[in-house]
């Protein structure tokens, strides 16, 4: 048990060393969501209306927080598949280390990475006029829900990385991630989408987290009257739990399966 934690931390520190060795990479990764904020907030923002009235950038920020967590899936996939393809995972498995550390260390590193991305985005939001109107307690809860989504998607990323194991398939993961990102209430109101697309967008786990965060931050929502829209916080807890319940065991199984 002691080794499980110590070894996990060694693996996490390895990622921190990656950041230090490649500051350009990490800065680019952090700036990408900021760029989307600026693009949607200023470039397209003029054409966006929030159904209940209210400022589009206030609506946008919680959506961007959640969307950035979904993009994190690509980071996880890239790291896990690269290790598998290069034989680094095998080397870890041949060492007398706690084998759980390979997965837990990765999880902690990715959560740290996402927490940093979130901090940068919060700063960016404050700079463009977004505020957490409902007080620090509820704001912390909102950020917690956002990170919970990231935590859940970690296991999807790890599972995909282990079973696919091909770094070059990252493009396919992106093709999977982007529609999920845009077919949601993260950037626009589902009310503006054609009926069935709007329904999918409403039930999207990303929408649930975005809507819950808007509610907790006291930001304008898109004000749908479906069950999903009315129970955003419940869904923002339930969806990640479901994802963890499915993909955590699958990840562990995939890791064990590496041993044929």
């Amino acid at each position: 048990m002691r080794w499980a934690i110590a070894d996990g931390w060694t693996i996490t520190r390895r990622d921190l060393a990656h950041w230090a060795n490649q500051p350009g990479q990490i800065v680019a990764g952090l700036l990408f969501p900021v760029m989307i904020v600026l693009m949607f907030g200023y470039l397209f923002g003029g054409g966006m209306t929030v159904p209940g009235g209210g400022d589009y950038r206030e609506f946008l920020m919680p959506g961007m927080f959640a969307l950035t967590m979904v993009f994190g899936l690509e980071t996880t996939y890239a790291a896990v598949s690269a290790d598998a393809a290069r034989g680094v995972t095998d080397r870890f498995r041949s060492l007398p280390m706690a084998s759980s550390a390979v997965v837990t260390g990765r999880a902690a590193a990715d959560l740290l990475n996402s927490a940093l991305a979130l901090a940068v985005l919060v700063g960016c939001g404050l700079a463009v006029g977004w505020r957490a109107e409902a007080g620090p307690g509820r704001a912390a809860l909102a950020l917690g829900l956002v990170l919970l989504l990231r935590f859940a998607l970690l296991w999807l990323g790890i599972w995909l990385g282990l079973v696919v194991g091909k770094p070059e398939a990252l493009v396919a993961v992106q093709i999977l991630v982007w529609p999920v990102g845009f077919l949601s209430s993260a950037l626009v109101s589902p009310a503006t989408m054609p009926g069935w697309l709007g329904a999918i967008a409403e039930w999207n786990p990303l929408s649930a987290t975005a809507a819950a965060a808007r509610e907790l931050f006291g930001n304008p929502g898109w004000g749908g009257d479906s069950w999903a829209a009315q129970h955003a916080i419940t869904l923002a807890v339930a969806w990640p739990l479901v994802i963890v319940a499915v993909f955590f065991p699958l990840s562990i199984r995939a890791f064990r399966r590496l041993g044929g």
């Binding site: 520190r13 060795n21 034989g87 680094v88 080397r91 060492l95 044929g260």
Partner: protein
């Protein structure tokens, strides 16, 4: 006396593994005593990597038993891992970390305390001629440097048993020589080494004993000299000036002589080399047979390899 000297550091009995319908290993037996460099020679797809992965606890065997340093690879996997070093077929180093960071990380994961891990990393960098490159990210290393870093990473705990899976495949001759000398150095320190290779030359130069596998089965085993002997050993060859003399020459060379009429050549086993040559020369003289050429030839390991693997291919 240690376990290794008594029972061998690697003991494989009836090992089998299949992937779907493909049998990658088929009732394989292998015994490597302590301190031996054992060459596992086989063409691509022979099952070399599969065997190494099973012995290093990365893959479960389908059937049979395997013990490394006295520990069962399935039931005592953790003990096995404490006694082995693995250098896999692809250089398994973290490209984004420096050489030093790579070694220190693997040392920490081998449960050396922080200070000892750092010291071990420096020591290994020195030993493998990477001290100057220690602070450069591994992605900027040449193929040979990366391979040496990989080799160093497999040696953190100075493991008594070392698995090297095609350690020189894809390297240029200079880098290959560096890896070879590193392996000789390790062998000199008494490590037991299982070295897989597709190159006969590599096995011939480095290994004390060679097992040739093909299609997951053992095709032959022995010292390089023994293997050369298995396809008949040394042969004496006489090229007669006239085809009419061939039967007489064959009679001279003994009951196992083979006639190749097109080449006007007679050949026969000559385990006693010089004596056989002397006998033949004298015999030819006495019978007044003119020979165009006469000599004793030792088969190359290539011939052994080709002969053994074309049979099953």
């Amino acid at each position: 006396m240690s376990y290794g000297t008594l029972y061998g550091m690697i003991r494989v009995t009836g090992l089998a593994k299949r992937f779907g319908a493909t049998p990658a290993l088929d009732s394989l037996d292998l015994h490597v005593p302590e301190g031996q460099v054992h060459g596992l020679l086989g063409p691509n797809g022979a099952g070399k990597t599969t065997l190494v992965r099973i012995l290093t606890t990365l893959l479960r065997p389908g059937a049979g038993q395997a013990r490394v340093a006295g520990f069962d690879v399935v039931r005592q996997a953790a003990d096995v891992r404490r006694h082995i070093g693995l250098v896999g077929q692809h250089a398994a180093v973290d490209e984004l970390l420096t050489g030093r960071q790579n070694l220190a990380m693997f040392a920490r994961l081998s449960h050396l305390p922080p200070r000892a891990a750092a010291a071990r990393a420096d020591e290994l960098l020195d030993q493998f001629g990477l001290a100057d490159a220690g602070s450069k990210p591994a992605k900027d290393y040449s193929g040979g440097m990366r391979r040496r870093l990989d080799l160093a990473a497999g040696l953190i705990l100075a493991p008594p048993v070392l698995f090297l899976d095609e350690p020189t495949t894809g390297l240029d001759p200079r880098a290959r020589d560096q890896v070879w000398s590193a392996i000789r150095d390790l062998a000199g320190r008494g490590a037991t080494i299982l070295l897989t290779t597709q190159y006969l030359e590599e096995a011939d130069r480095l290994a004390d004993k060679i097992s040739i596998i093909d299609g997951g089965r053992l095709a032959a085993a022995g010292t390089p000299a023994e293997l050369k002997a298995t396809i008949g050993g040394d042969r004496i060859e006489v090229v007669a000036a006239s085809a009419a003399d061939l039967p007489a020459v064959a009679a001279l060379l003994g009951p196992y002589a083979r006639i190749d009429a097109d080449a006007r050549r007679v050949s026969a086993p000559a385990p006693d080399r010089v004596a056989a040559l002397t006998r033949a020369v004298r015999g030819l003289e006495e019978a007044a047979i003119a020979a165009e050429d006469i000599g004793v030839r030792r088969p190359t390991l290539d011939e052994v390899f080709l002969r053994l693997t074309e049979r099953t291919a």
